[in-house]
Amino acid sequence: MFDYTFQWRQAFRALPQMLDGALVTMQIAVLSMVIGITIAVLLAVARNSGSKWLQWPAMAWVEVARNTPALFQIYMAHFGLGSFGIYLSPFVALLAGITFNNAGYLCETFRGALRAIPGTQVRAGRSLGMGQAKAFRLIVMPQMFRIAFLPTTNQMVWAILMTSLGVTVGMSTDLTGVTQDLNARTFRTFELFALAAVLYYCIAKAVMFAARLVAWRLFRY
């Protein structure tokens, strides 16, 4: 039953291509985080605002993002919108799907962090003549990001791994896409995907390490 002969050399020859793919993977993950964080802050503010008109859409976003499969979210961005005549390329659809997911999860992370910041902080800022928005930006947001930093880092890792779902909408340039293509041509399935898995693992670890450095540099208190 064990007549598979490993051919690692062939897999390693594909390494440069796979590294290129890893770069695309990183690109999507970073973009989806930057946009996701921005949207998540807005969603968190909307959910904490007194206005129903802001609360409801934000809540719907969070509920759907967190309680449906990420795969469906990416599918919807590609095929779902496609049926309305809105065609997103695999890259954009994947980015949109993951960003949607990220924003939903991060919104709740940020809301939790906001709860941990005493209202007296904003009061102190307002007393010094800051408007609501300025007090939020200068006093609340930096503290929020610090409290939410570790969960946000975890979300980043999650985003990297989620990019592998891109193949389902025809993504072929990211790490999984490249690996899939190579596999179709060489059938070295185990070697190629093992190598890809190692690359994903290394990227994830590198991100965690970088995050720790950033935290150490940024959060001196």
Binding site: A124, G125, S127, L128, L138, P142, R146
Partner: protein
């Protein structure tokens, strides 16, 4: 000049201020004493517009605080307030805590703001803590930083809300000394306080609050020596 005219204020069904009248002149130090829940803090937060009022009016240098047309952010620049909780901004160093508002509210350059901040921080004895984060400071130091932070906006008025109440007893003195120094410099101040000796020695007038009413106001000699109202006497005997 701060003019408080017949101010009423309720939280829901609870009337917290029941027609307060008080005028504080330039250079005057008024201490506000009274039992817990008598409305002292609420009055201070009404003066700088953090809390709305139900009726009456409050004028600061002739500007009506709660008028719709009043730019509160602008008005608050000249009313410093320090709370019982120090409210240090934990993510900023001592120096950054103090320069934040001058830079981001007044639009001062970093250099100018730092010059003022260093001056204020030296004044309150924190010149050697500029680069330190607040969590490395004692309560008394954090409170002095909060005072310097308010003063860096060059306010014309300072409101103090029980600024020593959250402090360990041995740290109360250093903060009260800072307040005395300010009073000696001629700052117009309203100090809500439980420190009777401070109220007696530093203020021009002492106001006694009781259940949302300013039951009595007068020079310290009157309040502490010859109180006209029974509630005042009861309160003073309870805190002694």
């Amino acid at each position: 000049m701060i003019e408080i005219e017949n101010v009423h204020k309720s939280f829901g069904a609870l009337e917290v201020l029941k027609g307060i009248n008080l005028t504080v002149d330039k250079g005057e130090v008024v201490s506000v004493i009274g039992g817990s829940g008598s409305g002292k803090s609420t009055l201070l937060t009404c003066i700088n517009g953090l809390e709305p009022i139900d009726s009456g009016r409050i004028l600061v240098d002739g500007t009506e605080v709660h008028a719709k047309t009043t730019d509160l952010n602008l008005l608050r620049r000249k009313i410093g307030i320090v709370f019982q909780q120090f409210n240090a901004f934990p993510h900023l160093t001592v120096l950054e805590n103090v320069t934040l508002a001058p830079r981001k509210v007044k639009g001062m350059s970093r250099r100018d703001a730092e010059e003022i901040a260093v001056q204020q921080l030296s004044h309150v004895g924190l010149a050697d803590k500029l680069k330190v984060y607040p969590n490395r400071l004692s309560g008394g130091q954090q409170q002095r930083m909060a005072i310097a932070r308010a003063l860096a906006m060059s306010p014309d008025y300072m409101l103090f809300d029980e600024v020593t109440s959250a402090l360990d007893p041995q740290l109360v003195g250093e903060v009260l000394d800072t307040l005395k120094m300010l009073a000696d410099d001629g700052m117009t101040m309203i100090c809500v306080t439980h420190e009777m000796s401070f109220a007696r020695d530093v203020s021009n007038r002492v106001a006694f609050f009781h259940k949302g009413v300013m039951a009595e106001i007068g020079p310290p000699e009157q309040i502490f020596g010859d109180a006209q109202h029974e509630e005042t006497r009861n309160f003073l005997s309870s805190v002694r």
